[in-house]
Amino acid sequence: MQRKTSPWIYKGVMALMLAAIALAGARAQDLKSFEQRITTKVLLNGLTLVICERPEAPVFSYSTFIDAGDVNDPSGESGLAHMFEHLAFKGTSQIGTKDYAAEKIALAKVEAANDAYEAEYLKAVGRDEAKLAELKKAFKEAEAEAHKYVIPNQFTDVAERNGAEGLNAETQLDETIYFWSMPENRLELWAWLESGRLADVVPREFYKERDVVIEERRMRTDSNPIGRLVEQFLATAYVAHNYGRSAIGWPSEVSQINATEAMDFHKKYYVGANIVVAVVGDVKASEMLPMLEKYFSNIPAGPKPEEMTTVEPKQFAEKTVAIREQTQPFYLEGYHRPDYRSPDAEVYDAITDIMSNGRVSRLYRSLVRDQQIAAEAEGFSPFPGDKYPGLFAFYAVPLPGHTPAEMRDAIHKEIDKLKTADVTDEELAMYKTRTRADLLRGLADNQGLANSLAQYQTRYGDWRELFRQLDKVDKVTKADIRRVANEVFVPSNRTESWIETEAAPAAAAQKDGGAQ
């Protein structure tokens, strides 16, 4: 379940060596101690509250975990979940508006104007450019009219003025997470703000925000060589499942998402049964629960949205993606694997650890230290998500003068070793020790703990699984690793991708930013 978010940020394997870690056996760190400090409550609307008391300092952190992300974007609307996440910072009918009754009417007009514009824009035959320009103008006017009622950024302003720290949200393929930390005496204010924006979002400034999101795409994907490669890699590795679709959205789709679609997404997925809210810090559950219950009961009840029917079919054709451009070479490959519920989930984690974790890892020692062909080489899994069958991926950053093909061959050689010989007792023990220690280390951070509790409560229906997973970790055997490697790391299950450096055109004319 631990996802590496940006494993190839090129700063070297060493930088990954985090702070300290250790084994259990201590007071405040076992399941029993957490059971005494954690209160779980399922409200009538289906929403689950998880409260963990950790009164180290007069602060708290929260994590709101929505069991929906861009994997749930309807066809033709890629990027919708993320677009909605941005909307959730724009306020409600009670905050961010000068006069909601009037604003609501103005927003309906914006939507109608956008519909009219889009209908003309999408005409396959007979699009009238003059009419289109007129409709664009009418849309801009409607937008300006609605803007008159807006108090910009008031929602975030109230949070920040009351000490919100690390205020942010993330939309991943599987889930959407909202979070910040605050002084403990702002708990009720937070409950008002958070429950309000989950229940009562207004599609305020939607189209301006859509432009912002498209800039985010330009930054993360279009203007970044690795971003471009990964988008193509996933689109190639998947033929049916939404894991293959651009998470931030294909440009043509994200640029045409409308507010109605965003609000429909909200209605379907932001229902009590699909939301877990975890709070960790200087909070007394017995005193605060009635207050929290009052606010979070405002969120509509609704059935848990139906599960996706699409299952990625078994891959039988080996695939490749080659990008030739004037950037430095890079190699990335992936193999389909099962989802997080697989009995082998911890076996994949063991392979990741043994292949990739630190200077003792097999890929570092082989490609970086001994062969001296790569600056960095790692495997990571699952990617791009864990809720549905994802990929086991490997990447390597070639040293100057070395090629992606050398990376591929060297990675395959290491994979073959996993298939033909057992890992050592020391390697397996190291995986188990480090996993236990990593878990423990994460318990000292309010925000990290809130995120983990919300995630495990959502994925397993019980936060205790965060601790119980260690039992499964302990059961991993050398034979398991060899079996899984043989099942999964086969050519027909593989997608290879790379960037090859293209020479710069000779005598390129000096471009000067359009100036003459």
Binding site: D157, E170, T171, R218, M219, N357, R434, Q510, D512, A515
Partner: protein, 483 residues
């Protein structure tokens, strides 16, 4: 992973009052009816500070929540002190020190031993210091401490591991023009400090190739005699730990003071620079100038001004460029201050090629507006709320308190700096804001750097009317062995 807010110019927090609010009267503001109880009593737990006779400073910060012990030794002297002809030396030193290991135990053997215990010992180099740090489970703490001391006092720099580090840095050099943001921040810093400044000069194949094992040894032997700061935190017995640290450090000779630096900081040559990169569809615009250092008594007022300019969602840059114009996802800015030398003024905006001129103009207008558009009571109150109400997060863990005290010790600031700084923030007035904006914000002294896709930037950058568009050549000087 996508976020609502990708840039962090936010500083932090905390008053217990709501400030006056001048929004239209018809809004009900139900959130203002919610009570704010008194915050639970809290006194940040300060570490014990011990000064040895030789001048070495020890900090002990007990924290018994988890069964870990971690430690660090901060050593004065960093990349700004390295020989320009060997630029990259400190980075190579920081890697090779640890990977080489000690006379008794090679770096590789150390890796095996530590990782089996989920423990770590690491070394690294920075612009003004180097450091050794370690951490482990409480039960392994004695052994890991002994290994860390062995590495501190008996390192063995190996040619083989130096070569490995050189390959790492060579790869960074080779790739430094692939990422638009990296180019923009690096080259704009060079505009501020000068390309050959100790603060911005970059390693090249030739300079890292010139570094030898003897250079690393000499660097180590020289810097280890400086004023070391040793900091321990976690689950330990303080009396036993003090005895152990005394045994390790008390016998060292008196520390040598670092020689004073005589850097000059002229600031950028005003003007407009451009770097063409045709595989992007978004321009990265950096507007930069010289900042100040933290000892400047105007820093608290500047921090409040920064909050108004580019601090959070409600800041002028964010409101205008992102929320109102929809021209950027990433936008921000601040007048920077460093601990012991001038920081940078820096505003940045990332916008699609076609709106480069519009977004740059909008950002420049907000910068100029600091001196022409009066600050309001509302802005002052909001900025102070934002900063003071979250101030608590600077010391809400014992680890943060310790890290802060080490920094203050390293740069020679009083131990109660945070308290006096907070008191000064509380006192900032509108008059202070006006005064510091006029004193420090000089739009005519700023340099503008645009990294972007030249052919796509229409209207062109000449529309900015900032003088001629001056290209910057970022071609990487290649050694003979790499083509």
């Amino acid at each position: 992973m996508k976020k609502i807010f990708g840039m962090t110019f936010i500083i932090a927090i905390c008053a217990l009052i709501f400030a006056p609010n001048f929004l239209p009267a018809q809004q009900a503001k139900p959130w203002e009816q919610i009570p704010t109880p008194r915050l639970h009593d809290f006194k940040p737990h300060q570490p014990q500070r011990i000064v040895l006779k030789n001048g070495i400073v020890l900090f002990l910060q007990e924290d018994h929540e988890l069964p870990f012990v971690s430690g660090s030794v901060s050593i004065p002297g960093g990349a700004r002190e390295e020989d320009a002809a060997k630029a990259g030396l400190v980075s190579l030193y920081g890697q090779t020190w640890r990977t080489s290991g000690t006379a008794k135990l090679s770096g590789d053997a150390l890796d095996d031993l530590l990782e089996a215990k989920a423990a770590h010992i690491e070394t690294g180099g920075d612009v003004d210091s180097t450091a050794l740090s370690w951490d482990s489970l409480k039960g392994d703490a004695d052994q890991v401490f002994a290994l860390a001391m062995d590495l501190l006092f008996h390192p063995q720099f190996s040619a083989e591991k130096l070569q490995l580090a050189q390959q790492q840095v060579a790869t960074e050099i080779m790739r430094r023009n692939d990422d638009e943001g990296e180019i923009a921040s690096r080259e704009s810093a060079k505009l501020v400090y000068g390309a050959n400044s100790p603060y911005t000069r970059q390693p090249e194949f030739a300079t890292i190739g010139a570094v030898t094992v003897d250079d690393l040894k000499a660097w180590h032997d020289r810097t280890i005699g400086g004023k070391l700061i040793v900091a321990i935190s976690g689950d330990f017995d303080p009396a036993a730990m003090e005895a152990k640290l005394r045994a390790a450090f008390e016998g060292l000779p008196a520390v040598k003071a670092a020689p004073p630096r005589h850097d000059t900081f002229a600031g950028p040559k005003p003007g407009l620079w451009f770097i063409n990169k045709e595989d992007v569809n978004q321009s990265n615009v950096q507007i930069v100038g010289l900042g100040t250092d933290r000892r400047n008594p105007d820093v608290p007022a500047l921090v409040v001004m920064n909050e108004i300019l580019g601090g959070g969602f409600a800041s002028r840059l964010f409101q205008k460029v992102r929320t109102e114009l929809g021209l950027a996802y990433a936008v921000g800015g601040s007048y920077g201050y460093a601990w012991d030398h001038p920081g940078e003024f820096r505003a940045e905006v990332l916008t699609k090629s076609a709106t480069t001129v519009d977004a740059t103009k909008a950002a420049l207008d907000q910068i100029a507006g600091l001196t022409t558009r009066p600050f309001t009571d509302e802005e002052l109150a909001r900025a102070k709320d934002n900063i003071l109400n979250s101030f608590l997060f600077r010391y809400d863990t014992r680890e943060k308190v310790l890290a802060e005290r080490v920094k203050l010790e390293f740069y020679g600031y009083p131990a109660d700096y945070l308290e006096t700084y907070k008191a000064a923030l509380e006192k900032v007035t509108l008059a202070d804001l006006d005064r510091v904006a006029k004193k420090y914000i000089h739009p005519d002294k700023l340099a503008i750097l645009v990294v972007g896709n030249g052919p796509e930037i229409k209207p062109g950058l000449d529309e900015l009317k900032q003088g001629p568009v001056q290209p910057i050549d970022i071609t990487i000087p290649m050694p003979n062995s790499v083509h």
